[in-house]
């Protein structure tokens, strides 16, 4: 289905005023060997924002970042950073630095030599260079490592290299720092630790961070705003992590970020704030909150997050927004349990419950007939 970016810019967060936007991408299109890598991408980023570009691999996220850095030229479109059109500027002239996925630390130099490399190109004085090295080593906590100043790159661990790469790109005090999946090489604990540190550093320095990742949890945890890019190389949605999770505007965003149960529905009635929907997959017609315009009889998708559905063995008093099913599987994950439920319509859905009570003590077991219900505020209508 054709996608109109303007349609999705209508929410408050996607659209920034000219004054607000620090980085502006205007109709960025990139073709490589005749294949489209990016198609007509436009969005803006605020000054001092932690902005993430989230999407599946092959979505052109890295290409977008490389275009921002100047390593690649867009086939069409303009890039404006801090009021200046930098589209035709080479990378070494842009007020932008990048932290590479491979870190790209120079193997023939020591740690301080790596950090000062960019500063030397600016022709700074020795005192200033040393001051800045100390500063970024403090910021990235590199100075806590013993003998770090005499170490070569191949003598460092993955986490230490990551810190050096970050320090090197921060030392130049760029207006924008680009991070290309910088945490993908770290193990889970180190990654979480680094996420906190990145947020800290971003707050301390006030530099605008543009972060590329395919890990939705990571993007949710660290970003002020997220741009979701789909497999067709288009921006689906831009918004705060909360907004994107709670109010996804496309099926792609809904399924890519978090999990979701989708039902095919037809619109029966439209109220000011609600739609009455009929689905062959749900026993009864159900209400869903909706503000947009939709015609009666239109086919829409109803999306409900697994944690927003309640389970009970007793029939609720109110029959709307309710359906029946049988518990097929229970996955116990410690903090939560995932229930796979076979609906009477034959559809399978997922419901998660926090384990407030021990699973044993719950009256939900395999093969139990259960009632599932949800509030109309927690049900989303996806029209596209």
């Amino acid at each position: 289905m054709a996608f109109d970016p303007s349609q999705n810019m209508n929410n408050r967060e996607g659209e920034l005023s000219e004054v607000d936007s620090f980085i502006q991408l205007k109709n960025i299109t990139k073709y490589r060997n005749g294949d489209a890598i990016l198609k007509n991408i436009s969005f803006s980023i605020r000054r001092g924002e932690f902005f993430s570009i989230l999407g599946p691999s092959g979505g052109g996220k890295t290409t977008l970042l490389r275009i921002l850095d100047g390593l690649e030229k867009p086939t069409d479109g303009r890039i404006i950073i801090d009021g200046e059109d930098v589209t035709d500027w080479p990378p070494y002239k842009r007020p932008v630095n990048m932290m590479f996925q491979s870190y790209a630390l120079f193997p023939h130099m020591t740690v301080p030599q790596n950090i000062e490399f960019g500063l030397k190109q600016e022709g700074l004085k020795k005192d200033e260079i040393n001051k800045r090295i100390e500063e970024v080593m403090e910021l990235t906590k590199l100075n806590r490592i013993k003998d770090i100043k005499v170490r070569k790159i191949n003598e460092l661990s993955g986490g230490q290299r990551q810190s050096v790469a970050l320090a090197r790109s921060l030392a130049k005090r760029p207006k924008v720092l680009l991070l290309d999946e910088p945490l993908s090489a770290l193990d889970k604990d180190a990654r979480q630790e680094t996420q906190y540190e990145l947020i800290n550093i971003q707050e301390q320095t006030g530099i605008t961070f543009v972060f590329v990742t395919h890990d939705q949890e990571e993007a949710m945890a660290i970003s002020d705003r997220i741009a979701v890019i789909n497999k067709e190389q288009q921006i689906c949605q831009i918004g705060t992590p909360h907004n994107i999770y709670e109010f996804p505007n496309t099926e792609f965003t809904a399924t890519f970020i978090g999990e979701v149960n989708l039902f095919d529905c037809t619109v029966l009635e439209q109220d000011t704030n609600y739609l009455l929907l009929q689905s062959h997959e749900i026993d009864n017609p159900c209400y869903a909150s909706y503000n947009g315009v939709v015609s009666i009889g239109a086919n829409v998708k109803l999306a409900i997050r697994p944690e927003k559905i309640m389970i009970s063995t007793l029939q609720p008093a109110y029959p709307r927004n309710c359906t029946q099913g049988i518990i097929e599987e229970i996955l116990y994950l410690g903090d939560i349990s995932v229930y796979r439920i076979l609906l009477s319509s034959g559809k399978r859905i997922k419901v998660t419950l926090t384990n407030l009570r021990r699973v044993k003590d719950r009256d939900l077991d395999y093969e139990n007939k259960v009632y599932l219900f949800w509030s109309s505020e927690n049900s989303l209508v996806l029209t596209s």
């Binding site: 390593l71 080479p90 070494y92 630095n97 790209a104 120079f106 490399f117 960019g118 790109s169």
Partner: protein, 296 residues
């Protein structure tokens, strides 16, 4: 728990994928055997000939060995021969001149080859289209397949046709250099090109990101990261041009070089002196390379 290759550390993985100790020992034995057979034994034979007084038929290869078994018992004779051969070489101006010429020619050729070859290698590396790059490489390779006497003759003809007929020693020097650069350029281009292809592109991008233009990138990153390839190219060229025979003989106009001297001595059947000269050349090369290694 399942054993998953991905979950293992980098070092453990390397251990698992590396050949076992037995296989390594077998490979090492083969390498040592071949090195001794083709490099050490010929060198020892040369040395043995150099300290035996023979003026023999060049076809009788086995003769000097018999000779030496006879003379080895007589220590005095050996000392005399050594004094005769080696002192003769060191004190004779023509040999000193030959050494001097060869070393200067070698250094000049190496520098010229580097100056010409490095930009060529870098430009080949920078060709983005796979097909064009392969084409350029094959052109250089094909020209490399033409035997050096033919190339030297071609060079003489070209020089003659544009009016350069080397008579003065300095002119001759120039033509020898030209000939050797022409012949040895591929030996510089290919090792450097290989070293360049091993440089990760992300380094170049990082340099550009950190504020370096193309020129600075070349000097600060490309050269340091390919320095081993450059060094081995230089050593290779220097050694080859030091002992070269064909080019100085064809275009050299009788300028004495190590190559021409040794060849002349062999043709006059003075194997002993020829081998002494070779041994001194080997020693000289080792000394020069050691200095080079210490310096770089």
């Amino acid at each position: 728990m399942k054993l998953n290759l991905h979950s293992l550390g980098e070092k453990t993985k390397m251990k698992l994928l590396k050949p076992g100790r037995k296989a390594r020992n077998a490979m090492l034995t083969i390498v040592i055997f071949l090195t001794i057979l083709f490099f050490a034994i010929p060198l020892i034979i040369s040395f043995v000939i150099s300290i035996s007084k023979t003026n023999l038929d060049p076809n009788a290869l086995i003769e000097p060995i018999i000779q030496i078994t006879n003379t080895i018992s007589n220590f005095k004779i050996i000392i005399n021969i050594i004094i005769d051969n080696y002192i003769n070489i060191v004190s004779n101006t023509i040999y000193i001149a030959a050494f001097f010429n060869s070393v200067i020619l070698g250094i000049l050729t190496t520098i010229l080859c580097l100056i010409i070859g490095l930009p060529i290698a870098y430009s080949i590396h920078n060709i983005n289209t796979e097909k064009i790059r392969a084409f350029v490489i094959s052109i250089i390779l094909i020209s490399f397949l033409i035997p050096s006497p033919i190339r030297a003759n071609a060079l003489i003809n070209i020089l003659n046709s544009i009016g350069i007929k080397p008579k003065q020693p300095s002119e001759t020097f120039f033509t020898i250099c030209l000939g050797m650069v022409y012949c040895y350029l591929p030996f510089v281009i290919f090792p450097i090109y290989t070293a360049l292809t091993k440089i990760d592109r992300s380094y170049l991008e990082a340099v550009s990101d950190l504020g370096c233009g193309p020129t600075k990138t070349f000097w600060r990153i490309v050269i340091p990261l390919s320095i081993r390839g450059i060094a081995s190219a230089c050593v290779l060229t220097f050694i080859m041009s030091l002992g070269d025979l064909v080019i100085p003989e064809l275009v050299g106009n009788n300028i004495p070089t190590i190559g021409t001297m040794i060849s002349e001595l062999f043709s006059t059947s003075d194997w002993s002196l020829a081998c002494s000269l070779s041994i001194i050349t080997v020693l000289l090369t080792i000394i020069l390379l050691t200095i080079f290694r210490v310096k770089f």
